[in-house]
């Protein structure tokens, strides 16, 4: 937290000085009013009255201005800090590995970036200032009370004991309750997000009512957790006001007997109680401030939970930079093993594969054989759990991640499109791509349809590619990969959604691009294999066969099983 406050230290210092001045200016006026009544008005001194009122007016104006300025800067600073933390959180999330993102629902992340940060900000901008002002006021008033009559002040001090005990209990119970409420609030957001994202699937099955029932369950859970949290509050700090009031009663009773006994003057007792009444409001508000403080604390915990997650995939200490121009593009897998962290069984059990510079190797294998996992390794979206991958002889983990990913580009089968212009979507991997690069890529991917969109490349396509077909989306994704012009291109079944005719056109154009590029292509069909120089068959976690398509068709029955369409079977 300190890290984020540091840049604002001067502003915060000014701010807190203003807060103090504001308290002083606020406290200075009532005594002056008293002076005016006791002095000039009592004495009938008009000129004196005007003078004092003049002072009050000036002080009042200053107080109002201070209040304005303080609030203004307080809110501006708090918003700036909130923005900084949000930005930092976003950057952190960007570098967290896929495994993290697979586990965390977007709604939970969203809740941290919006409502949790908001809670923290509100506490710093409101509750905290208020708490400190209150504590200051309580201390000042207690001092004055002690000065007037210490025995009565002891009664007031004694009332602090139950307040403290209740407060301690409150903290113990409220923190977990607030946490569980915030967690559930993230669940509700997640449910809302998922139902929006999957709206077509839901509608296609007519499961709207079911989703609504599920959402209602989450919302009901949130409701009951919120109420549970509030009930804790109602049980504990609802006593605060009553205790403070009882203390006033006790002071009145004891004070009165003391006055009757002649050890205290009526004036002093009145003054004492008057001051004590001024304590009521700050004490009453303490409970509210504590609740907000607690919520801000749990919110901060939730935010730090993310900050404290170390990215599993990051640069090694001595990672070295690599330039696109110096890469030849030799890609070697050496005994590569992989298992998901929650699964002891390995998907890859020692993959050995060498892709020469400029060569195109197709990866074939049955559904679930680990093809997609294998091709996510060269750009380090996952790290192998055993063995290593070498690019031009260097372990890719010894290369700087950002360099590596500019040299190795991966296009997935499912085209992730963002609600942005076509241009921005195409230039995803190379923001400085010029018109010619885009044109070329669009041509290679046979994605000329983009020029027919209402505003051409400037048309916004929806998150899932507004009214674009699966084939169109896939061609955009392919064009996006082509734009990057990487040394190593990894394509996960890039043509699956294309019709035969388009596929042929794309293949012809792509072949030129691939000529100077090392490529790893996941294939499901013989037609796509045509792109490749060689084919590797992934079977039971290893490369079971490697060679030209025709060779494998002749020598490997598994390969035939995976890749041959066997029209006679279709007709059967």
């Amino acid at each position: 937290m300190k890290k984020y406050l540091y840049p604002y230290r001067y502003r915060l210092a000014v701010l807190w000085s203003m807060v103090l001045l504001n308290i002083v200016s606020g406290l200075a006026i009532p005594p002056l009013v008293g002076r005016a009544i006791d002095g000039p008005i009592h004495d009938g001194d008009m000129a004196g009255l005007v003078a004092i009122v003049g002072v009050i007016a000036v002080l009042g104006a200053a107080d109002a201005l201070l209040q304005l300025a303080r609030r203004y800067f307080q809110t501006t600073t708090a918003m700036a800090i909130e923005k900084d933390i949000r930005g930092a959180l976003y950057e952190h999330l960007q570098v967290l590995h896929t495994g993290f993102h697979d586990r965390w629902q977007t709604g939970q992340l969203l809740a941290r970036v919006t409502s949790d940060l908001g809670m923290i900000r509100r506490f710093f901008a409101g509750g905290l200032v208020f708490a400190i002002t209150s504590i200051g006021m309580i201390l000042i008033i207690m001092g004055q009370l002690l000065f007037i009559e210490w025995r009565l002040a002891l009664i007031v001090a004694a009332s602090a004991v139950p307040l403290f005990l209740i407060g301690r209990k409150f903290f113990r119970e409220y923190l977990p309750a607030a946490r569980s409420e915030q967690d559930q609030s993230g669940e509700v957001s997640s449910a809302a997000e998922e139902a929006a994202l999957g709206i077509r699937a839901i509608k296609a099955l007519g499961r709207g009512p079911l989703m609504a029932a599920r959402f209602e369950k989450e919302a009901a859970e949130l409701r009951s957790r919120s109420i549970f949290k509030s009930l804790i509050a109602s049980r504990s700090w609802s006593g605060y006001d009553a205790i403070a009031t009882s203390a006033v009663g006790a002071v009145l009773v004891f004070g009165s007997t003391m006055v009757a006994g002649g050890t205290l003057s009526v004036g002093d007792l009145t003054a004492f109680i008057m001051l004590q009444l001024a304590l009521l409001w700050p004490i009453e508000a303490t409970g509210w401030v504590m609740a907000h403080g607690n919520e801000a604390m749990t919110a901060a915990d939730r935010v730090y939970e993310v900050f404290d997650t170390e990215p599993a995939i990051k640069d090694r200490p001595n990672a070295r930079a690599v330039e696109r121009s110096e890469v030849r593009g030799e890609l070697v897998f050496e005994g590569v093993r992989f298992a998901f962290e929650d699964d002891s069984r390995e998907i890859l059990r020692g993959v050995d594969l060498r892709v020469e510079p400029g060569e195109t190797v197709a990866i074939a294998g049955k559904t679930g054989s680990g093809k997609t996992t294998l091709v996510s390794l060269p750009s380090r979206l996952h790290d192998p759990t055993g063995g290593r991958i070498l690019l031009d002889g260097t372990d890719i983990r010894d290369l700087r991640l950002e360099n590596l990913r500019s040299v190795v580009t991966t296009a997935f089968e499912e085209a992730t499109l963002f609600s942005m212009s076509v241009r921005e979507n195409l230039a995803l991997g190379r923001p400085d791509a010029d018109e010619r690069d885009l044109e070329e890529a669009v041509r290679v991917a046979q994605a000329e349809f983009v020029y027919d969109l209402p505003y051409g490349l400037d048309t916004r396509i929806g998150e899932q590619g507004l009214s674009l077909s699966g084939g169109q989306r896939q061609r955009l994704a392919l064009a996006r990969a082509v734009v990057v012009r990487p040394a190593v291109l990894v394509l996960d079944d890039p043509l699956s959604a294309l019709d035969v005719h388009t596929e042929e056109l794309v293949e012809r154009a792509l072949a030129q691009v691939l000529r100077g590029t090392t490529a790893l292509v996941v294939v499901h069909r013989p037609s796509t294999v045509a792109l490749a120089d060689k084919v590797a068959l992934l079977h039971e976690g290893r490369i079971a066969a490697f060679g030209a398509h025709s060779e494998l068709m002749a020598s490997s029955p598994e390969y035939v099983d995976v890749l041959s369409a066997e029209p006679e079977e279709v007709a059967a």
């Binding site: 006026i29 008005i41 009042g60 107080d63 209040q67 304005l68 609030r71 809110t75 918003m79 909130e82 949000r86 950057e91 999330l93 896929t98 697979d102 586990r103 629902q105 977007t106 709604g107 992340l109 969203l110 957001s189 809302a192 077509r200 699937a201 007519g206 499961r207 709207g208 209602e216 409701r223 919120s226 949290k229 509030s230 109602s234 009773v253 009165s256 007997t257 006055v259 009757a260 009526v266 009444l277 559904t367 997609t372 950002e402 500019s406 963002f418 212009s421 995803l428 923001p431 969109l453 209402p454 048309t459 998150e463 077909s469 084939g471 990057v484 699956s496 294309l498 995976v562 041959s564």
Partner: protein, 626 residues
């Protein structure tokens, strides 16, 4: 007319400073519900709607709210009682003890004090508990209503509105309203009670002086009106900036694999920072205006003191008013303004919540393009005959997709649609599954216009497998079960077996109970497709639509699926869209489409013999197999 359209277009473009990367939406209304147009009349209408919505939220809790108000009145009373008791004690109980040694009065006061304390405790406790119940019940109802509305809105709405914005409405806007229900409503009521009580007391004590001090009232009203006017604009803007931020956040986190694979991070960071800063300023704006109001209120309070002091002092000097009255007056003035100063902060929360409520009422007000029929018809035992009668359709004014389609698909027939991108294949699928309604003409099932079928009825008969293979958060079994909620495990397994998914599912660490992770991140595209297939098979509809449902499958899986399809489709109506002719070959009938018109129609083997478009495609496909 055109000029007007252009004008609104350029206006919205001007509003969108992010157009350079966001691009231009096909419809100028993409980012908002139709209720949210920026002219004065619609803003007024929206305000009205949001108030109605608030009324709707509060109506079921009339009694609870009345009870809350009663608690606050009692609480207000106990607060007022404390100083009075003290005064009474000092003025009467002390002399009684001093003069007569009579403690009874003091004991009485102590007893009343105890009573007041207990009352206070009970009030606060009841209030917190009760307001939490009422507030959360209201939020609960609102959340559900908004969720259901989003579910009811058509696919075309969702396509332009984006899921991020839907999420924003249901998270940050809701949060804004929650904040209001949780904080400060009691302050508002107490301050209101306070203002009324003190005004009355002041008027009783000294009407003239009261009149003078109330002179500041119009100033306060003016200030309040200024704030609600400017802050409404500011907060409305802020709700949009935060929505944009959320849209960007949700999408870039959802697509984080692509972001990382393409080293998109720096550019993303830059754009997010832009939105983040925009949002910062937009959020700060309302708070800054609130700072002005807060300073202004303080100033007005001081001004009132100054005026009362001068005028009152003058009156005292002339002997028109007692000194004690003036002193009491000044004390009351302080108690008048202090709560109001606190209230200024709450006003801020209130304004923000009002804007959020406006956004939500905009959503609730949105017309559902594919509406439920008023009097739904039902089909007792569907044969599954589909008909298109002169169906016209277009997504955009200038681009006709279907220029009058006539088509009859008898019950039980398997129809394959073939044609280039943009030929209208998916559109036909979407019309049959009623994602859209035709612009003119009728799509009917067994002679009943689809528009006359209730959503539930329609989906029972017609199920579509979409291209996206969407998996929900949960286990594999749960995802398949969506096809038939409540289906026993055996049927789920059976469905998986039929489509050939059983083998890979069993191989997962927890079999059918394996969690698929976010969006099925644990599975490959082909595996997801099989799960979705199993889901549709379990649904067992009369009419099944497959839109590129086999594109990600490898050949062995595809073979299995095809074998399964022969059995599954034997007795139902099916529409298959596939570019892989292997899938098309299982069809009874093939339509070749071109620009929304049927150019060839017949059995696959017939068409091959005829030597037209389909025959050419088929030749090309056969060539690709070797």
């Amino acid at each position: 007319m055109t000029a007007a359209v252009n004008e609104t277009e350029t206006k919205t473009e001007k509003h969108d400073k992010h157009a350079s990367w966001r691009g231009r939406a096909e419809s100028a209304e993409a980012d908002r519900t139709s209720a949210e147009v920026d002219d004065a009349a619609s803003i007024k209408e929206l305000r009205l709607q949001s108030r109605r919505l608030l009324g709707w939220m509060m109506r079921p809790h009339k009694k609870g709210i009345a009870f809350l108000c009663a608690i606050l009145v009692v609480q207000n009373f106990t607060s007022m009682a404390t100083p009075l008791l003290v005064m009474f004690g000092i003025d009467n109980a002390i002399p009684a003890i001093a003069d007569r040694g009579d403690y009874s009065l003091l004991v009485g006061i102590a007893a009343v004090f105890a009573l007041v304390s207990v009352l206070k405790y009970v009030c606060v406790r009841l209030y917190i508990a009760q307001s939490a119940k009422v507030g959360n019940a209201m939020l609960f109802a609102l959340r559900n209503r908004v969720f259901r509305k989003f579910q009811d809105l058509s696919v075309s709405f969702h396509e332009r509105f984006t899921s991020g914005r839907v999420t924003a409405r249901q998270s940050s806007d809701m949060e804004s309203i929650r904040e209001m229900t949780e904080n400060g409503v009691d302050d508002l009521v107490l301050a209101g009670l306070n203002v009324v009580t003190i005004t009355i007391v002041m008027l009783v004590i000294d009407p003239l002086l009261a009149a003078v001090s109330l002179l500041t009232f119009p100033l306060m009203l003016l200030l309040g009106r200024w704030f609600s006017r400017v802050s409404a604009v500011a907060y409305r803007k802020a709700r949009e900036t935060v929505a944009l931020l959320i849209v960007y956040f949700v999408e870039s986190m959802g697509g984080v694999r692509a972001v990382q694979a393409y080293r998109r991070e720096p550019r993303d960071r830059e754009l997010f920072a832009d939105l983040n800063t925009d949002n910062q300023y937009a959020q700060a704006k309302g708070h800054q205006q609130n700072a002005f109001m807060s300073g202004g209120m303080r100033g007005i309070g001081h001004l009132a003191t100054v005026v009362v002091l001068l005028f009152g002092g003058w009156q005292v000097m002339r002997g028109n008013t007692e000194l004690g009255v003036l002193a009491a007056f000044l004390l009351y003035m302080k108690r008048f303004f202090d709560p109001l100063n606190e209230l200024v902060q709450f006003y801020n929360v209130l304004q923000s919540a009002t804007s959020a409520l406006e956004k939500l009422s905009g959503v609730l007000d949105e017309r559902i393009e594919v509406a439920e029929p008023e009097e739904p018809k039902s089909i007792a035992s569907p044969r599954g005959e589909l008909r298109f009668d002169d169906v016209h359709f277009r997504y955009r004014e200038d681009q006709v997709v279907l220029p009058g389609l006539d088509l009859r698909v008898p019950g039980g027939q398997t129809l394959a649609l073939v044609g280039a991108t943009g030929a209208g294949k998916t559109t036909i699928a979407k019309l049959v599954s009623r994602f859209y309604d035709p612009v003119s003409g009728v799509v009917s099932l067994d002679g009943v216009d689809l528009r006359d079928l209730s959503e539930a009825e329609l989906r029972r008969h017609i199920v579509m497998i979409t291209q996206e293979n969407f998996l929900f958060n949960g286990t594999i079994a749960e995802n398949i079960e969506l096809g038939l909620p409540g289906a026993p495990r055996e049927r789920i397994v059976e469905a998986a077996k039929v489509v050939g998914a059983h083998e890979f599912i069993e191989a997962l660490p927890d079999g059918y109970d394996t969690h698929v992770r976010k969006r099925g991140g644990r599975l490959s595209a082909g595996q997801r497709q099989l799960v979705v297939f199993a889901r549709a098979f379990l649904a067992d509809p009369r009419v099944l639509i497959l839109d590129e449902a086999t594109s990600s499958l490898d050949i062995p899986s595809e073979r299995l699926v095809q074998r399964a399809l022969r059995t599954i489709l034997a007795d139902r109506t099916a529409i298959i869209i596939a570019h892989r002719l292997s899938t098309v070959e299982i069809a009874d009938r093939v339509l070749v489409l071109e620009h929304g018109r049927i150019v060839e129609d017949g059995r696959p083997d017939e068409l091959i013999d005829r030597g037209g478009e389909y025959a050419a495609l088929h030749r090309q496909w056969e060539d690709s197999l070797v």
